[in-house]
């Protein structure tokens, strides 16, 4: 197991392996998305209160979960890179950041679309949307810090510290935002709380969640290969494999 892990940290091996993994993640993701979307948009019955508007949770909730999950993956990868000095881990962290940021944007946009028929406004400072916005700032800050260093290795290590500090602060931020919001409307649930979920509404949600996770994996494979290419562009193995192909 450790031997495979060690082999994986060699860029050419990782490049090939990740390229092979990608279709196994991408196609099941697409399939599950189709199934989940069908289940959520067609099969699931109308909600009693929210009618058809609730259906956006099939994109909104997985996006929100993934935006947080990707940040944790990014921070863990960065920590692995710093503690065990594995460059590939840093490449994974770098690849995760834009993906996570896009999931955050998707959450905010779908949240806004969800909110319009409910609140009448395009934006409300509810706990989930506010904490997603702060999470977006954390992602953007991470990417900005990376971009400000010319040397990739220094960028890796500096942004790793930021990612670790960020991931430690995320629970604090979430708690404080919920606390802040609850003071204004009493101890109530988020305005974007999904309606009471019953079976036929639940399985498409879980399917979409799994689909999003697999999709994240597939996009990560693509971005990781791009990162490896960028970092190794002067390495001999790359020019050799281009010459031979």
């Amino acid at each position: 197991m450790w031997l495979w892990f060690h082999k994986l940290s060699s860029p050419p091996y990782a490049y090939r392996t990740v390229g092979l993994m990608r279709p196994w993640l991408f196609w099941p993701a697409i399939l599950l998305m189709i199934v989940g979307a069908f289940g959520g948009l067609v099969l699931a019955p109308e909600d009693y209160q929210q009618k058809d508007a609730f259906r956006i949770i099939y994109v909104h909730v997985p996006s929100a979960s993934l935006s947080l999950m990707v940040y944790v993956v990014m921070a863990v990868a960065a920590a692995v890179g710093v503690i065990w000095r594995i460059k590939l881990a840093h490449a994974v962290a770098a690849a995760c950041a834009p993906i996570g940021a896009w999931f955050t944007v998707a959450t905010l946009v779908t949240g806004s679309i969800y909110g319009k028929p409910m609140w009448g406004t395009w934006w409300e400072w509810d706990p989930r949307l506010t904490s997603e916005l702060i999470l977006l700032f954390l992602y953007l800050g991470y990417m900005a810090l990376r971009a400000s260093f010319d040397d990739t290795q220094r960028a890796d290590r500096a942004s790793a510290i930021l990612a670790i500090v960020g991931v430690v602060n995320v629970p604090i931020v979430k708690y404080s935002v919920v606390w802040w919001n609850s003071l204004h409307q009493g101890p109530s649930i988020s305005k974007l709380a999904a309606p009471s979920i019953e079976g036929s509404m639940l399985w498409p949600l879980l399917t979409m969640m799994l689909a999003f996770i697999l999709y994240f994996g597939a996009v990560l494979c693509d971005r990781l290969r791009g990162e490896i290419l960028r970092r190794e562009r002067n390495a001999s193995w790359l020019s050799e494999s281009i010459a031979s192909s």
Binding site: I134, A144, S148, A158, G166, V168
Partner: protein, 233 residues
């Protein structure tokens, strides 16, 4: 071998040494201490001009205005925390001193707070009164700002250590640090607001204490790690 066993100074001595040095430097450069304070006052003045001169309206937003102004002033003050030492080479001497860098940086941040955060705490009641805040709120205001600016200094120092070697990195510093500081803002501003309505403030005040203790215990390690990366070249 030339080196004898040197009498390595204890940790307490080192803290005193760092404080003594930075205080002495600050005395010779009063402007660096006064400027963030003036910024704080000027920014709070912007709000009556932008919103309304009516004290009733200003009173409602006073806690928020004071806290946001304090956050921005503390951000500006961070420029003078590490940059001078990194530029003249004294920071890399600290990295090479064989003493725990996290402790040296914590001592430096604490001294910096005394010079930039504490003046804000003392000035805030005066500015708050100008925004219609009643005197009864002053103790809570001072307490929350004292605790809060402490946390802001530590988070700011982590950001400053990360960006000190980046050219023109002050805006980047703000982008990195402000999201992390939002919980402090939430609890601090809320505590003052509760005090103004005569409600108990123990909840947010305890949260501010907890945050400060948390950041003081873990922050210095992040600062030291970030600083080692920044002084590489």
């Amino acid at each position: 071998m030339q080196s004898s066993v040197p009498t390595t100074p204890g940790l307490g001595n080192i803290l005193m040494l760092v404080m003594a040095r930075d205080l002495r430097l600050a005395v010779r450069h009063w402007d660096q201490v006064l400027q963030p304070l003036m910024f704080f006052v000027i920014v709070t003045t912007l709000f009556p001009l932008a919103i309304s001169p009516a004290l009733d309206e200003l009173r409602r937003i006073a806690p928020g205005v004071l806290w946001v102004a304090a956050m921005l002033a503390s951000l500006l003050a961070l420029e003078s925390l590490f940059r001078p030492d990194v530029e003249d080479g004294t920071m890399e001497q600290w990295v090479l001193s064989g003493q725990p860098l996290s402790l040296l940086l914590l001592a430096k941040t604490a001294t910096h707070w005394l010079l930039t955060g504490l003046p804000l705490v003392l000035m805030a009641p005066i500015v708050g009164t100008a925004l219609g805040m009643p005197q009864s709120v002053w103790p809570v205001l001072a307490a929350t700002l004292a605790l809060g600016t402490g946390s802001l200094s530590i988070l700011g120092a982590i950001g400053a250590a990360l960006t000190v070697s980046v050219r023109r990195g002050s805006v980047l510093l703000a982008l990195l640090v402000l999201p992390l500081e939002m919980p402090v803002l939430i609890f601090g501003a809320r505590a003052v607001d509760l005090a103004m309505h005569g409600e108990p403030v123990a909840g947010p005040l305890n949260l501010l204490v907890a945050l400060l203790l948390f950041f003081v215990s873990l922050g210095p390690f992040a600062m030291a790690a970030a600083m080692r990366i920044s002084v590489e070249s």
